[in-house]
Each structure stands twice: as structure tokens, then as C-alpha cells.
């Protein structure tokens, strides 16, 4: 397997995880509405919590990559949100119900629900772009270029995730099944990253 193929796999993973982030956000609004309504506070909470998760993820991804990035690490970073989103329908509704009963008010209710439900998966997904820069570029002078490519491709994925979910997925599958689908897609990315790990290891072996 060539280095070029590995690079394209990295871009593919960045694209798909970017799509999953936004699909998750659109579906998130559907999870919150029955408990917290469709108010501006719900959207405000949701969007800011996604930004929080992504910011934390970008930072953590950068820190982790400074210790050296690997496809194995990438697979692990993707495995966490794959599980969290796959099982989302099981724990999200009880958490919303619990927060509804607590009655924290029109603002804090949806804010805390968003914090509990969306921060962690989003943070893991946020690590992907900064973490994979090193897998693409060995020459540090090209690091900026690699980062730029990754963010552009990840954001293009987000466009697809947003449009695809709001225009089609909600119509085809509904909320819970769409969540399960996102989790499954992430599991597929884990497998892809793991495959690259094996391939890269074999390449290293040949060189020696």
C-alpha cells in the first residue's frame, strides 16, 4: 500500500468524521425538542456546546500528536465516539427526562442537556484533524499545508453532513436510526484506520 493511498484514507476519514459532527448536531436538535422545546435557547446551547467540544478536541488532538501520531491512535480516537453515538439512543432519552424533571429553566435545561450529551463525542471527533496532520506530512515546512487541507476537507464533510441529514436522513430513517447509522459509519472508520495501521507497519517492516 502506497503512502499516497494512506494519505487519501486520512483525507477520507477527516471528511467522514466532519460529516458525522454536523449530522450529529442536526439530529441533536431533534432529540432536545420534545424535552426543551424549539426555542432559541435550545439552538444556542446546542451550537455552543458543539463549539466547546470541538475546541477541546482540537486542543487535545494537538497535544496527543506532539507525542507522535499513529493510525492505531487514530483508530482508538474514533472508537470512543463510535460507541458513544451508537448507544446514544439508549442513554440520551433518560438523561433528557432526568434534566426535564430537575427543571433548571428555559436556558440552563437545554444547556446542561447539551453539555452531557454532546461534549464528549464532539471532542473526540475534533481530535481527528490536528491528530492526523503528522500522518500526512513528515516535513514540518508542509505542516500548514497539511492542516489546511485537512480542515478544508473536514469542513466539506460537514457541509455534506448538514445537508444530507436535514434534507434526507431525517426523512428516510428518523432520529434514532440515523444515530445508529452514524455510529456504524464511525465504526467503519475505525476499521479503515486499523487497516492503515497494519499496512503502515508492513511498509516499515519492508524498509528494514
Amino acid at each position: 500500500m502506497s503512502a499516497r493511498f494512506l494519505a487519501w484514507t486520512v483525507y477520507f476519514i477527516a471528511f467522514v468524521s466532519g460529516a458525522v459532527v454536523m449530522a450529529f448536531e442536526i439530529l441533536g436538535s431533534r432529540v432536545l425538542a420534545p424535552f426543551f422545546g424549539n426555542s432559541i435557547f435550545v439552538w444556542g446551547s446546542l451550537i455552543s456546546v458543539f463549539m466547546l467540544g470541538l475546541a477541546a478536541g482540537y486542543y487535545a488532538g494537538g497535544v496527543l500528536s506532539s507525542r507522535g501520531s499513529s493510525f492505531k491512535g487514530l483508530a482508538l480516537l474514533l472508537f470512543a465516539p463510535a460507541l458513544l453515538i451508537s448507544f446514544f439512543p439508549i442513554y440520551a432519552w433518560p438523561i433528557c427526562e432526568w434534566l426535564f424533571e430537575l427543571d433548571l429553566g428555559q436556558r440552563l435545561g437545554p444547556l446542561f442537556a447539551s453539555l452531557f450529551l454532546f461534549t464528549l463525542p464532539t471532542a473526540f471527533l475534533g481530535t481527528v484533524s490536528p491528530y492526523t496532520v503528522q500522518l500526512l506530512v513528515r516535513d514540518h515546512r508542509l505542516a500548514g499545508q497539511g492542516a489546511g487541507n485537512l480542515y478544508a476537507i473536514g469542513t466539506c464533510g460537514s457541509i455534506l453532513g448538514t445537508i444530507g441529514t436535514s434534507f434526507f436522513l431525517i426523512l428516510w430513517l428518523g432520529t434514532k436510526a440515523s444515530m445508529t447509522l452514524l455510529g456504524t459509519v464511525l465504526l467503519f472508520l475505525v476499521v479503515a484506520a486499523w487497516g492503515c495501521q497494519m499496512a503502515a507497519a508492513r511498509q516499515e517492516g519492508k524498509k528494514d
Binding site: 425538542a33 420534545p34 469542513t155 460537514s158 431525517i170 426523512l171 436510526a177
Partner: protein, 322 residues
Amino acid sequence: MTVTTTPHRRRRPLPGPALALLALLLFWPVTAPAVETGRMLFETDSLYHHIMVIEAQSGLRYLSFNRAMGHQSAVMPGRPEVLTFAYTQSAFAALAFLEREPQEVLFMGLGGGSMPMYLRLLFPQARMDIAEIDPEVVRVAEKYLGFKADDKIQVAVNDGRLFMKRNPKSYDLIFLDAYNDHAVPFHLTTREFLELARARLKPGGVVASNVWSQGLNRYFTAQIKTYQEVFPQLYLLQAGGGANYIFIATQDARPVSAEQAEQRARALTQGRTWSFDLAARVKTEYACYTSRRVEAKTLTDDFAPVNLLKTMEASAPGEGRP
């Protein structure tokens, strides 16, 4: 509702055609005003809407959220007996499906407040709760549209579904009319929501819902199906033959025939001055939908692609187009 999470930067200037298209998209609604019937009295951007109050020559004031989409409400301030819109008149037909005079009433969505003020006039003893999500709409209704809350009219600034979920109070009559410019929020269309509304009805109580549908689409049939599933009886009144349908759903399983409803409307008319003929409305618009078969999927919290379904054609219900 739009979501933007990534600030975007433009690298190259856009080519001419793209700019023209962008300009068209940006200015299209403004250059195509469907209704500019008077002078703009007040205009503001609230959390949810672009609110406009337009005063016509006749003195009628219109509340509008969107220049291209018509008006939310029409009132003559200080004269609550003026009930202009056909759909508000048809909504009052719900009273003909209630066996008693209304004592406790819930309105979901205030708009210009024409319906609560009219109800106030005809049934002064009725106590009303109004759930309105937009605080600015409440202020505008009070300042410009002659709406007044008092000891019998309470306004809660809250999402309607949340208001019902939080308050275990039950009602004789629940009016559902919560729209942003012309779409219903999905969580006010689902089986779970309607089950909540049914649970908030007193025995014999009635839900009257304004459903806006341009012709027959899958959203409309899905809405019929969902109401049928939750309520034992369903009637549809096509208000003035237009795009507004009033869904009247009862808590009681006993059917109300056209004759019974008309008779009841007549009884309600006696001793009160209505500004329109309630019995005639009931007679011309009554259609029982309880057992009409429609090809549609029930809307649920999990599956309610309301806006997407609106664009899809549906096959006609069992007994022809309503």
C-alpha cells in the same frame, strides 16, 4: 432554522453569475411583496421573527412575520368583535363540538391576540392560558394590536409543548396555532405531542388546530393520520375554502353529526352577538374524518420530517380530496 458553525472566508472574488444569483437569493423575498396593503406602523427583529405591524386604510392592523407570506393576524384595536380571518372564524366552530360553555381554554401561539380577545367578548367567564414563545410578539400585541392580559388571561412566554408538559392543568378547549412564518415546528405535530394535548383535556374537551396546507401533500395526510391515531373523533373544516384547515379533535368517543354541530352552534349564537354566522360556517365546512382512510405514516418524535413531507405529493384520501 439555520446552523452555522464554521466561519468561512472567501479566497477569490465570486464570478458575475454567482454574484447575481446571490443577490437574487438575498433580495427575492423583499422585491416580491405579496401584501403591502398599508403603512408600516412598527417593525422589529425579535428572537424568532421579523415582526411587522401594518395598518391598512380601513384601520385594520396586520401582524406579519414575513413580507412574502401573508399575515399572521388581523385586528381592529379596541374592537375585538372584528374577526377578519376565515381560519379564526372556523376555529371557533370547535365550540360546537364542546357540550358546555368553555371555562378553561389554552391557546398555543398568541399572534395578534384576535382569538383570545374575541373569546373574551363572547364568553367573559372563560379563563385563558396563552403560551407564546416570542416575548416580543406579546409586547407588540399589547402595544399595537389591542391585546390585553388580565386576571383571566395569563400569558406564559414559553415553548407551547413545554408549557403543557410542565403544567398539569386541564382544559375544555385547546387551540393550537403555533407557527413561524408558515411552518409548524416538528415537535408540535407528533403523536407524543398530541397524546400530551389529549391528556390535558377535561372530559368532553376539544382540540382545535390550525393546519396550513397548500393542496394535498404528504405532510397533510400524515397529520390527519396522526390525529386519527390519538383522538377518537376527528373533523376537518376547510376555512373559507382556503389553505387553512381546522382540525377538530375530541376527547370523547361519541361522534358529533353535522346536524348536531349546527344545532349546537345555533344555541351558542342565541343571546350573543357574533360578527359572523357560526352555524353557517359549521354547516358548510363540517367534514368527519374519523374513519377516513389516508395513506400516510404517523408522525412521531423520532420521525417527523414535516418540512420535507410538505414538498411531496400524496395520494388522495379514501373519499376523495377534502
